[in-house]
Structure formats: structure tokens, C-alpha cells
């Protein structure tokens, strides 16, 4: 009798031992793709499966109305002074590199830009915004000089274009020094021959 029970249990076990079926995505989603090969290199899959027609219950979103409003000063001049401007400072030159993380270059007073450091600025709006927050567009203070007051953060920022880590400056105040005489002719941090912006595509959400 015990033998029969044991046999029955083994049969039940064999029946239940099949792996539990995992959910599959509908056509066009990666979950419905075939099992991956053992080849560790990327094996591309049929692109036709990746662009499905919208399903019936799929949301097609309407255009988004922007809610964030920037200041719109008539002239491209930031306040001469903002926030806490006591203590030591760095000279900063606003530099724009398309699709590259960061605010620009900073250096100590009296040093040349060859010793400059590329920074991203993190700010608390209640303490001190970045200078260009006062302008209609972020690029409106390109190549402007500032005295920047604050400290370097103990953590870094990830720059996704160049796959490098950028220093973060926690701003608490600034003093505007007006336009610089010249552009800083240096590339921000990057790997070897891969110049910044070499891969000018990133991120999600095109619209």
C-alpha cells in the first residue's frame, strides 16, 4: 500500500514538475521573442516584430502642454548677485556641449583654463538656482563668466554620452562677471578618441 502511495506521489510530482509557464507578451513585445541562443554576443531579432500596430485598448496620448514656465527677462542678463556669496569661490564659464551632461568649466582665481574642471551643477531652487534659470533660454548665458559659490558634492554625475563621471558642484550663490573674452577650447571629459557627442542619441521619449 505504501509503495502504491509513493508511486502515486511520484507520478503527481512528475506532472507538476514542468516549469510554470511564464507570461508571454503580445506580438511586437520582446517577451514574445524566441528563447535566446547560448551565444553571448547580441543576436538581433526581426524588426518587424518590434513595431506593432496599436492595440484596441492602447493609449494614444495627446500632445502634452508644458506646465513649466521659465523667467523671461528682456535682456540676457542674470541678476548680478544671487544667493549666498560669502566665502571662497570658483570662476565658472558657462559652456554648452550639445547633449552632454553639465554646466561648464570652473577654475580657481588666477589659474588658466588648462587646469579647469568640467562640472555639473546641482541646485536647490530655494537656495540658489543656476544662473541661466533667470533667462528665457538655457543657452542665453553661453560663455558668460561667474563667480560660483558652493562646494563639490561627495558623489558624481553619470554622463551617458561619453560614459564618464562628472564632478557635481552644489551651488549656493553666484556673482555675474559678464561675457568672457573667449570660448574655452577644451573638450569635456571623454574616453580616448571617442569625442563628446560622438553618440548623439540617448534616452527615451522623443516627444
Amino acid at each position: 500500500m505504501g509503495l502504491l502511495i509513493g508511486l502515486a506521489l511520484i507520478l503527481v510530482a512528475a506532472d507538476l514538475a514542468h516549469p510554470r509557464p511564464l507570461p508571454t507578451l503580445s506580438a511586437g513585445n520582446p517577451g514574445s521573442l524566441p528563447e535566446p541562443s547560448t551565444n553571448p554576443t547580441a543576436s538581433t531579432l526581426a524588426p518587424t516584430a518590434a513595431t506593432p500596430e496599436p492595440e484596441e485598448d492602447e493609449t494614444i496620448r495627446k500632445p502634452i502642454v508644458e506646465k513649466v514656465r521659465r523667467a523671461a527677462l528682456p535682456a540676457a542678463h542674470t541678476p548680478a548677485r544671487h544667493g549666498d556669496t560669502s566665502g571662497s569661490y570658483l570662476i565658472g564659464q558657462r559652456t554648452l556641449v550639445e547633449d552632454y551632461c553639465g554646466w561648464g568649466w570652473v577654475r580657481k582665481e588666477g589659474e588658466g583654463w588648462n587646469k579647469g574642471r568640467w562640472i555639473a551643477i546641482e541646485y536647490d531652487p530655494e537656495v540658489c538656482p543656476v544662473p541661466h534659470a533667470f533667462l528665457p533660454r538655457p543657452q542665453d548665458d553661453k560663455d558668460y563668466l561667474y563667480q560660483l559659490y558652493g562646494d563639490f558634492a561627495p558623489y558624481r554625475a553619470y554622463e551617458p554620452q561619453a560614459d564618464v563621471w562628472v564632478e557635481i558642484f552644489l551651488i549656493r550663490g553666484f556673482l555675474s562677471l559678464g561675457p568672457a573674452k573667449d570660448t574655452v577650447r577644451r573638450d569635456p571629459p571623454h574616453h580616448g578618441s571617442a569625442k563628446p557627442n560622438r553618440f548623439a542619441e540617448r534616452g527615451a521619449n522623443l516627444r
Binding site: A14, L25, P30, A50, P54, T59, R61, I121, Y158, P160
Partner: protein
């Protein structure tokens, strides 16, 4: 004796009888519009891209799984707080309400260490193994960026990204042997997927090219770039 052996065999062969598996869906955070608004390649006009797409997926999963199957929704909290401050909205409340409609309560994480802890599983009822993991958020080929263009313009804070060099913190033993993983971020199929497979030991499907969340629902590969999905 035979009875005991059969019982032992049953337990070994059928762990499903003891506890269920878990499906983990991760939602990254949105960028701030004050950083992105004037860029040619602008991001996140809509704050809830990664929330809506995750919940659209839940809807799909519910059709295939039973109502009792466990889905864990991990949400990167700081991104929604900051975007909410910018637009004067309580996005955490809104996403919780949306999750509630799908029977889900978000579990928040604030940095990658918290995420690693949430992904540590031992197969117990409290920490069931992960049978499926999906990521919805910003990424490039080397990195999941929960925080992209939020605290700093055009970048992500070090502690709020999972770089391929961090993958050793995710153990393959937290997943079922046949677990499936998908990253719906951009470019993941170009390197991240392969590194995940090598280090975590489970296959991950990722996009070669960009993914586009702008139409709502599940993200699609961006048109015109010849993108595809890859392991």
C-alpha cells in the same frame, strides 16, 4: 520509507507547491522639464511615461496570470517628487491611485542600494524568486538611469544609476532558472543585456536603438533607426 522518499522527491521537484514566484516591474523616474525643455532631443514631456507603460504591462500580465499571482512594482521615488515640485503636483499620490486601479501598491526605492536589497531573494514565501523582471526607464547601452536629467542637467546621480559595473550586486540565485528579463530602456540591447546575461546569469532582452514611450502603452522601438530587440 518509500513514502518519505516520494515526499522528499515531490518537494524537490515541485518548489511551486510551496510558494509562488514574483514578477518584478521597475519604473524609473522622469526628467525635469526645466532641464529638457529647450533641447532638440527633449525627454519626458509627460511625467508618467514609465508609470503608464508599466501599468499597461500589468494589464497584459493579468490576462495571462491568475489574479493571485504576485506582481511587485518598484518605483524610483525621488524622480517623481522632484518633477511634482516642478509642476506643483503630487505625482506619488497620482501614481499610487493608478496602481490601485490595477491592484498594485508601489514599493519605492531611492537609490541603487535599495534596489539591490529589494532584488535579493532566497525563495522563501517572504522573498520569492523572481520569474520575470522588466525595466521601464531611461538608459543607455551601459546603464539604467533612474534619475536622468533630474538632479543635474543631462546626467544622472552616481548613486541612482545601475551601471554595468554594478551588476555584480544582483545575484542570479534571486531568479528562477528560467527567469526572463526585459529592459525597455534605450540601447540596453547593445551592451547591458549581454553583461546582465554574463554577470547575473539570466537572459535579458534589450533594445538596439531608442525606445519611444510617447504614444502611451508599452514602449516601442523608435521608427526610422532600424532598431531591433536583442539578447
Amino acid at each position: 520509507m518509500i513514502r518519505r522518499l516520494a515526499l522528499a522527491l515531490l518537494i524537490v521537484l515541485c518548489p511551486e507547491l510551496s510558494w509562488a514566484y514574483d514578477i518584478v516591474l521597475i519604473s524609473g523616474g522622469p526628467a525635469l522639464r526645466s532641464h529638457e525643455r529647450f533641447k532638440v532631443n527633449t525627454h519626458d514631456r509627460y511625467w508618467g511615461n514609465f508609470v503608464d507603460s508599466t501599468l499597461a504591462r500589468v494589464k497584459e500580465l493579468r490576462k495571462e496570470f491568475g489574479p493571485d499571482d504576485k506582481i511587485t512594482w518598484l518605483v524610483f521615488r525621488p524622480g517623481y517628487i522632484r518633477r511634482g515640485l516642478e509642476e506643483k503636483q503630487d505625482y506619488l499620490k497620482i501614481l499610487e491611485e493608478r496602481g490601485h486601479l490595477h491592484g498594485l501598491t508601489p514599493i519605492y526605492f531611492d537609490d541603487k542600494d535599495q534596489l539591490f536589497t529589494l532584488l535579493q531573494r532566497n525563495g522563501s514565501p517572504e522573498k520569492p524568486l523572481i520569474a520575470r523582471l522588466e525595466y521601464y526607464g531611461h538608459s543607455n547601452k551601459k546603464c539604467w538611469m533612474f534619475d536622468y536629467s533630474n538632479r543635474v542637467d543631462g546626467g544622472a546621480i552616481e548613486t541612482q544609476v545601475v551601471h554595468v559595473d554594478d551588476l555584480e550586486n544582483i545575484s542570479g540565485s534571486s531568479f528562477t532558472p528560467d527567469a526572463k528579463c526585459v529592459s525597455y530602456g534605450c540601447h540596453s540591447g547593445e551592451e547591458f543585456s549581454q553583461r546582465w546575461r554574463m554577470i547575473v546569469g539570466r537572459p535579458m532582452v534589450g533594445a538596439v536603438g531608442k525606445t519611444d514611450y510617447s504614444a502611451g502603452g508599452l514602449p516601442k522601438l523608435s521608427e526610422g533607426k532600424g532598431g531591433s530587440w536583442a539578447y
